[in-house]
């Protein structure tokens, strides 16, 4: 199943400049694993050593923060949009 992942500017050097990329997966965890297979460097940037998201990374599925859903186990539908954004903005 194809899912679109939107890449923030700060991570684009690790994707060869691409602002979005198509990957596979039915949960956020699978989508991110698929993303890391395509772009190895990204894993260290957004995941900590235990495989959890770093604390200043926000991930959204269809505009909703995954922490309001099932975190990394949040289901991702075919054709959905997953957005990765820095958490430090605003306020």
């Amino acid at each position: 199943m194809a899912v679109t992942v939107k890449i923030p500017t700060q991570l684009r050097p690790a994707t060869g400049g691409a602002a979005e990329t198509q990957v596979e997966g039915t949960t956020v965890r699978e989508v991110l694993d698929s993303l890391f297979e395509h772009h190895v460097e990204l894993r260290d940037r957004i995941s900590d050593d235990g495989g959890a998201l770093r604390r200043f990374v926000n991930v959204y599925v269809g505009g909703e923060d995954i922490r309001f859903m099932d975190g990394l186990e949040t289901p991702v539908a075919d054709g959905a949009e997953v957005t990765i954004l820095p958490a430090v903005a605003g306020g």
């Binding site: 939107k6 923030p8 500017t9 700060q10 991570l11 050097p13 940037r45 957004i46 770093r54 604390r55 200043f56 990374v57 926000n58 959204y60 505009g63 923060d65 922490r67 309001f68 957005t83 954004l85 820095p86 958490a87 430090v88 903005a89 605003g90 306020g91």
Partner: protein
């Protein structure tokens, strides 16, 4: 002190003083790092401050501008733009007496050009944006920032684009649009607006989003609250400071201000106990504090304190760490307590604050009632915004008399004290 670069608070990676806010390595927040390049005596440092203008630029030695205070001549008497700060520190003896406390001061930041502390942070961000060559200011706002960005845009001749949640109080929308910028009401809450603006800031690299790509500079502006409080108390650190928490940025930067002045010898003693104040309807930081967590779980805000309605606070982890390190705390109060807090401050000090100040005052009352505050303590209550911004919060909270223009009617009705209808 001279700003020498941006540094990641998480991993220490260093970056140039540009419009950057996130570490590319670990996504941590970037903060301005300073170099102490001159060995000035304490007396000399004080003199430099005291000979400065009556606004935040008197503290230019501690702010991240390359060219010193902004203005055509770059003299220390700059009054360019929309000068903020140097707001009154008011001794609140009647408030202290009512709460059974010793010494309480109100830092009245409603006395800024657009009636909230946001003018401090926007002044710094806008001045830095100018230095970096930006021609447009933008922001994601819960209202007070919208007022300030629109006004600074007008004062500096820069375009302003302000993004607000569509359900914002009418007073805040009107007090933004009047300055002539573009006001964009986004269907969603502040966190939705913030997400949109974070995405937009990547697409519109020619815009200075004051609280996104200019955030490291913007946040430094809040240190000036600490500088002013210390100077107004006679170069002294108070024992306790009560501050509202939305993103947690102001809360942490006030402590940073005291810390920096301690480091250069302008102040002596311990950091104040830092007490954060949140509304129960949006209390991710207070909840994490109570649970002993070091990160915040985001919430969907539902409170009358809309200027504090950030469900996903960027500086939450640092606010938690600070409250614990200084043996302060972070509390939450209900909407009814917020209304009571507004009334308490108004009737004991003559200062009318918006809902955020109601949160702060109610939190002070809660700490006092709980016996957390010692009788000898010097306590500073930071009142960040004006009550005229959230008039709905006091609607119906008191009665007025309506009479004919005759002494008889006055005597008959008012002295008999029969209220006729509630104020509309």
């Amino acid at each position: 002190m001279t700003a020498q670069g941006l540094k990641c608070r998480e991993c220490g990676a260093e970056y140039a003083l540009e419009a950057l806010y996130v570490c590319e390595r670990c996504f941590g927040p970037l903060e301005v790092a300073y170099r102490q390049d001159r060995r000035l005596s304490v007396a000399e440092r004080r003199r430099r401050i005291q000979s400065g203008p009556q606004n935040i630029w008197r503290y230019s030695d501690f702010l991240p501008l390359a060219g010193g205070p902004p203005g055509p001549s770059s003299r220390r008497t700059s009054r360019a733009g929309l000068p903020a700060g140097c707001t009154p520190l008011v001794r609140a003896d009647r408030l202290a007496a009512e709460l059974g406390l010793g010494e309480v001061w109100v830092k009245n930041d409603t006395a800024n050009p657009t009636h909230s502390f946001k003018d401090r942070v926007v002044s710094v961000a806008a001045a830095r944006a100018r230095e970096l060559g930006f021609e447009a200011l933008a922001c994601a706002s819960t209202g007070n920032l919208a007022n300030s960005v629109a006004a600074h845009g007008a004062a500096l001749g820069m375009d302003a684009y302000v993004f607000i949640p569509a359900d914002l109080e009418e007073q805040k929308v009107l007090a933004t649009g009047v300055y002539g910028g573009k006001v964009v009401a986004v269907r969603g809450n502040y966190d939705d607006v913030n997400r949109l603006c974070t995405e937009l800031s990547a697409e519109r690299e020619d815009w200075a989003f004051v609280n996104i790509n200019l955030r490291p500079y913007y946040a430094e502006g809040s240190k000036t609250i600490a500088f002013e409080v210390a100077e107004q108390l006679g170069w002294r650190i108070p024992d306790r400071v009560v501050v509202p928490i939305a993103s947690g940025s102001q809360f942490t930067k006030i402590a940073k201000g005291f810390e920096e002045w301690r480091r250069v010898g302008l102040l002596e003693g311990e950091l104040p106990r830092m007490n954060g104040a949140q509304a129960e309807g949006c209390s991710p930081v207070a909840t994490a504090f109570a649970a002993g967590h070091d990160v915040c779980r985001p919430v969907k805000p539902d409170t009358i304190a809309k200027s504090l309605a950030i469900g996903n606070p960027a500086d939450g982890p640092y606010a938690l760490e600070l409250a614990r390190r200084t043996e302060g705390g972070i509390d939450a109060v209900s909407d009814d307590e917020i209304r009571a807090g507004i009334a308490l401050l108004a009737r004991t000090t003559g200062i009318f604050t918006e809902t955020a100040g109601g949160v702060t005052t109610a939190t002070l009352a809660k700490l006092a009632a709980r016996g957390d505050i010692g009788p000898e303590e010097t306590v500073v209550l930071v009142i960040t915004g004006d009550g005229l911004k959230t008039l709905d919060a006091v609607r119906g909270s008191f009665s007025t008399y309506e009479i004919d223009a005759s002494v008889e009617d006055f005597t008959a009705n008012v002295q008999g004290a029969h209220p006729i209808g509630a104020t509309r």
